[in-house]
Structure formats: structure tokens, C-alpha cells
């Protein structure tokens, strides 16, 4: 599956398009990680557990989007955007959306 956040796939031509596909997820860390991050928040610096949380959430949302695109018979998703929001303290929602398309290499 080819993923891009521009309007086309470099070196390929769009043959068909299947409309918008999207995937979203809400994730939270366990209570211990929350307490640790709360302490770290007082002294400053990076909150590694929350960074991890965002990475996981983004991967999950992307894979859900990919599954949806595969079901439609697409082999690429273009113009992907991510939207992130904090639902409550320590929980993040990541929403990924893009256009599912079928692409073929140029000159084939």
C-alpha cells in the first residue's frame, strides 16, 4: 500500500478513485504511566510515554484506513491528513483520512 500526503503518487498514474477512506482510534496509557508523566510534567522535558501513545495511535489509525482502502480494491491512499485531539487528560484521538485510488506505473 502506497501512502502519500500529496495529490498524486510520484512516478505513477491514477487509474481509478474510490473516494474517502478514514480510520480513527482513541488510546490511553495505564495509570502508572500517567503518574510518571505527571511528575515529569512538573520538572519539564519530554513525556516519553505520551509520545509513544501518539505513535501507537497514529499507526493504528493508519492501518485501519489501509484496511478500508484494501476492501475497496485500492492500492494507494493519497492526500492523507492526520487530525489529533486530546479527549481527556492522557488520552489522544488520532483520525487519519485520505483518498483511496488505484495507481499504475507510468509507461506501462
Amino acid at each position: 500500500m502506497i501512502l502519500t500526503n500529496i495529490e498524486s503518487v510520484p512516478g505513477m498514474k491514477i487509474k481509478a478513485q474510490y473516494g474517502v477512506v478514514s480510520g480513527s482510534t482513541v488510546r490511553a496509557k495505564n495509570a502508572f504511566a500517567d503518574i510518571g508523566a505527571g511528575l515529569k510534567n512538573v520538572v519539564g522535558g519530554e513525556l516519553k510515554s505520551y509520545t509513544e501513545l501518539l505513535t501507537e495511535a497514529r499507526k493504528e489509525a493508519t492501518s485501519r484506513m489501509e484496511t478500508q482502502a484494501q476492501m475497496l480494491g485500492a492500492n494507494a491512499v493519497i492526500n492523507i491528513r492526520y487530525a489529533t485531539s486530546a479527549v481527556t487528560s492522557g488520552a489522544a484521538e488520532v483520525y487519519a483520512y485520505g483518498t483511496a485510488v488505484y495507481v499504475e506505473p507510468v509507461g506501462v
Binding site: 500526503n5 512516478g11 512538573v42 520538572v43 519530554e46 491528513r81 492526520y82
Partner: protein, 149 residues
Amino acid sequence: MGDLITLAVILLVTYMTGSLIEKAHYRKIKKREKALIGKTMVSYGIKTWDNTKKVKKIELVSGEVVISVDYFKTFAAGLKNLFGGKLNSIESILDRGRREAILRMREKAVGANFIVNTKVEQIMMNDPSNKNEYPKCALIAYGTAITYE
């Protein structure tokens, strides 16, 4: 009186830890930025590429970081907010976070010729209903990495 002393101690300690962490972080960022000079080009608006060359690999790369504003900075920003003007303490946090996120993205795309259409977004990860919480800021950078053959 006891409360004031506790507050002063907390402010002093967090001022020290905050500035130590910030200095170390800036040193790391500068080192990594130097190492990446001339490697992968990052563009923020361009969505085109050289059509004459053959493309080998297209990949969506991203980097994210959650960075916290320490107690001292929150306190100082609260005071400064009364008078208005530049909030230096928060500025440096956002600057650090953004540079870190972009660096992480670039480090994932080592070997690529360039990254086009980079987007950087930032959100506050606080509980919207809890006003007393210290701010924590999430910065996410993502773009399309293109590698030529």
C-alpha cells in the same frame, strides 16, 4: 508562611531542572541538525518533484513528540500573562518540540532524496475541564519521502 516556602522551593527546583533539561535538549537538537545538513531536503509547501527521474520508493514519514511545560515556566507565564507581551518560556518549548518532531521525521527518512508537503500540527494534550493542569504540548510532523533510483 509555610506555603510560601514550599512554593519557593518548588519554583527553584523546577527552574533548575527545567533549564538543565532545556539546555541539554538544545545541545542535542543542534548536533542532530548539523549531522543532517545536506542529507534529506524538507519542503513545506512544494508538492512536485523531478519528473524526469525514476522514483524508487514513496513513503509517508512522521515524527511526534510530547513536551511538557515545567512548573516554573507555567508560573512565570501566568504572571507575564497579566501584563501581556512575549512569553519567552513557552516560545522555547514550542520551538524545541517542533524542531525535535521534524528531526525525528527526517531521521526516519534517511536515504530519501527529499520530503515534500511537510505538515506540522500542534495540540495541547490537557484535560479541557481542568484549568489547573500544567500544559503539555504534542507536536506532530509528517510528509511524503521520495527516493530516486
